[in-house]
Symmetry: C2
Subunit: 121 residues, 2 copies
Amino acid sequence: MISKRLEDYIEEIYLAKKEKKELKAVDIANKFNISRPTVSEALIKLADLDLIVYKGRKGIEITDKGVVEAQKIIKKHRILYDFFYKILKIDKKTANDNACRIEHVIDDIVIEKIKELKEND
Amino acid sequence: MISKRLEDYIEEIYLAKKEKKELKAVDIANKFNISRPTVSEALIKLADLDLIVYKGRKGIEITDKGVVEAQKIIKKHRILYDFFYKILKIDKKTANDNACRIEHVIDDIVIEKIKELKEND
DNA sequence: ACTTTTTGTTAGGTTTCCCTTACAATCAAA
DNA sequence: TTTGATTGTAAGGGAAACCTAACAAAAAGT
């Protein structure tokens, strides 16, 4: 199991790639309000886990394994966000913030049930 | 803001007190599968924060401030548990485990909306 | 081409939460 | 009451995730 923070980073890397945006280490630092050295360290960890290929200034590439990992988290995020925003009528920012936190700790089975809840509306 | 772990411990202390059970440091260690020294340290931290009065072998007492803190978390726990168990039909153990994790990261406003959801059934 | 800025890394710290080992005090049981 | 188990604490350590300061390489601006 990958840590919450690494989940956040791989998620971000995946989303950038999907939008074909050049993502640099410093962008991750800004996004999460952490220092460049902390990002440096995290990217090395992600590369160790074969979730990305990290080539310093030459770019960050996500591996197939990384894509799988990222998609799992993004799926949870999306289902939680939709539940909060569309069903509970929570404002977008709060819905997103809470999804960001809960996506790391909720079990798959609970996510599936929340998804069904939406479908039976 | 108190940390997740300290929230867990104060919650446990409060529940024991409510059931008038004698709670020892070692019981907390067993409950959370952590070592006695770790509990020792945590109880000193909780005492520093005025959430408990810790007297070693002579017992653990929860303060008014501690009760307030514990009740906030337990309220979230209960609402989440009910939502998972009664509405989503998740099994008791999974419902409880997920409530235990999410109670530490979910915003009050989201909890309130989940509570309303239940009431309009 | 030559500065200046941006970027990534090194080195050295901090905090939180956990561990084991070892010891002393208390409690229970014989 | 002595013996043995239980409980709490002290000492010393570790991993994760963060930090700042300092530096070198690369990119951008003039």
